[in-house]
């Protein structure tokens, strides 16, 4: 028997999330959304439990998790940084902004800094093209960001 370890409180929370969607297999995406909101990411153990509760295969859950870039299997940082790479942001220099974040924090896209504070990801359009290039950190949105602003933005969160 392969064993999976997970804290009871986490399991209970997951069971509760699944139940709130009537343990319906067709609600998988909603369940995953809620689970990621709760735990910050979707590790293998969480996917195993969701599969069991919704009575779908783990392979199927993993298939959905890996299909949508929104879902992540690695923990995000305390302050998740997202750089918009949509067309408008891209043409206005988003790539230079991204490179600067990567350089300053020394992590590649999709990963988290060693102290767990920051993670970097890319997204496509947050619907604020007028402010391009756009960066979001948590719920906060930064507009017209240039590579030169990056150091100051990071400093805000290092207090």
């Amino acid at each position: 028997m392969a064993k999976i370890k997970l804290a009871k409180s986490k399991v209970d929370k997951l069971v509760e999330i699944c139940k709130s969607f009537d343990n319906e297999g067709s609600e998988l995406i909603n369940v995953l959304h809620k689970a990621q909101e709760t735990f910050g990411y979707l590790p293998a153990e969480v996917q195993e439990i969701i599969a069991r509760e919704l009575n779908v295969s783990v392979a199927h859950v993993y298939g959905v998790v890996t299909f949508y870039s929104f879902f992540s299997m690695v923990p995000k940082g305390e302050f998740p940084i997202s750089i918009c790479m949509g067309t408008a942001c891209y043409v206005r220099g988003a790539e230079k902004v991204l490179e600067e974040f990567k350089r300053q924090l020394s992590v590649p896209v999709g990963e988290t800094t060693e102290d767990g504070k920051f993670s970097i990801s890319c997204l496509r359009c947050v619907g604020a093209c007028g402010l391009a290039p756009v960066v979001t950190i948590g719920e906060r949105v930064y507009g017209r960001v240039s590579a030169g602003d990056v150091a100051d933005i990071i400093k805000e969160y290092q207090k």
């Binding site: 028997m1 064993k3 009871k8 293998a44």
Partner: protein, 590 residues
Amino acid sequence: MEKMIKLTIDKKQVEVPQGTTILEAAKGIGVDIPTLCYMHLGDMGIEHKPGGCRICVVEVEGRRNLAPSCNSKCEQGMVIHTHNMRVLNARKTVMELMLSDHPFDCLVCAKSGNCDLQSTAQQLGVRELHYKGEQSTYKVDYSPSIIRDMDKCIMCRRCETMCNDVQTVGALSAVNRGFQSVVAPAFEMDLEKSTCTYCGQCVAVCPTGALTEKDHTNQLIRDLADPKKTVVVQTAPAVRAALGEEFGMEPGTLVTGKMVSALRQLGFNSVFDTDFAADLTIMEEGTELLDRLKRHLDGDKDVKLPILTSCCPGWVNFFEHHFPEMKDIPSTARSPQQMFGPIAKNYLAKEMGIKREDMIVVSIMPCLAKKYECQRDEFKVDGDPDVNYSISTRELANLIKQANMDLKTLPDEEFDNPLGESTGAGVIFGATGGVIEAAARTAYEVYTGKTLENVNFEALRGMEGIRSATVDFDGLDVNIGIAHGLGNARKLLEDIRDGKSQYHAIEIMACPGGCIGGGGQPLHHGDSSILKKRAAALYREDEGKAIRKSHENPYIIKLYEEFLGKPCGELSHKLLHTHYFDKSKDIEIE
């Protein structure tokens, strides 16, 4: 009344019922549109038409884009062109793009000559490749039964349909996105660590060399050449009804005698029959069935009914993974393959005056799960497996060809004795319903003390996924259930779990059709009528047998007298029975 629709295909007027696809309508007038991802096993209700590969596109006048004919329905007044220049060019381009991310090792690929991708590329006349691009580089995944080489996957997703919809095993899913997408187990772990049952139905439908069996033929060639080793072989019932297909013979041709002759020429010391072990299985499983039934009738509340057959290793893997709480319900009788092994190595070896470790037992099986089964720890003595390895019907065909033999021209020969003698009951193990019919023949006579007038239990035969019948045991109604295909098995198991099952005994086979449709058989390429012909062949062989009830096999009687004692006795329990494991994932809560 069905609404009819009129349309034009390649300038011909066609009238088809509403709901007919363009592909089907074209087929009706003899226009065979090429397909690749499409799969249709009509008799078993298995249909897979994702429209993903785009090989079957046709032009519909008035539509901007070409339409995939496999999943586009006919509409009133449609004008369709299946082979104009635009269509032919599109198909070729699609194929070239597919090939641009496919390794060019066709000359040494296990699937070469039997590959749908290769034959479709030929059919489309692809002679050069205009596209060069990124190539997939996945690690090859070697499991005890199945090899996954995802560089050769074209994402037709037939395997997913078999694994998830038909078998409900759920080991495979498409994962990731875009160029990175691939069919894989959860977390892209190795198949061995997944819930895979090794039924091999994914291999049976894979159009390329992405999914193949683990090949043991080189090991066999080495062992046959070793003068210190005595190599004996057992052949499963379903092999004789399908092997001929690999040599251009009609499906359903019985090649029992020619197969024996080929095996002898290959150099096996003795050629035996798994059918003998099937008769032995009936003695053990039948005794267990009657014992449970009698205890149940005597009011024993602890007795587990229904009893489930246990000869199918894919099925055993399935309940160990998916229904571990029910692992005390199946019969403890080992499968015929695993009954043959210990009899050969403990009884026959002594008779032949050789040591256990000098004997190599090989099995020829229609099955890929058998490869895994024979290496399970509980079937080994001090590390030496009872059955050393198993080779599939396809591997045997290749070996016969390598040895410059043409099966068609070989003389018919008889199996060796004592482990080559079998009854008609042993033969029908290879078709769905056969095991339980064989058990009924023996259990009836043992229970009632009377002779069966007619040994043919027609009610137990057929191709329906779930069947049931009541057999009259001289006043006692025995309710029998049959399921083939693991999705059907799941339904019967859920009924048992929910206390809704009325059956006394249930036969389960993992593969659609039973062993005749096993993952190691010659590929049917979507023609399910082949399976029916194979089943008919086994019933024909049964009809032609002098003895048709397992308990009347003279060598079985002798084996019990000289060696085993009585069915389900002490030695039988040690050598011929097994136990099952909980292979489900346990979630440990901290």
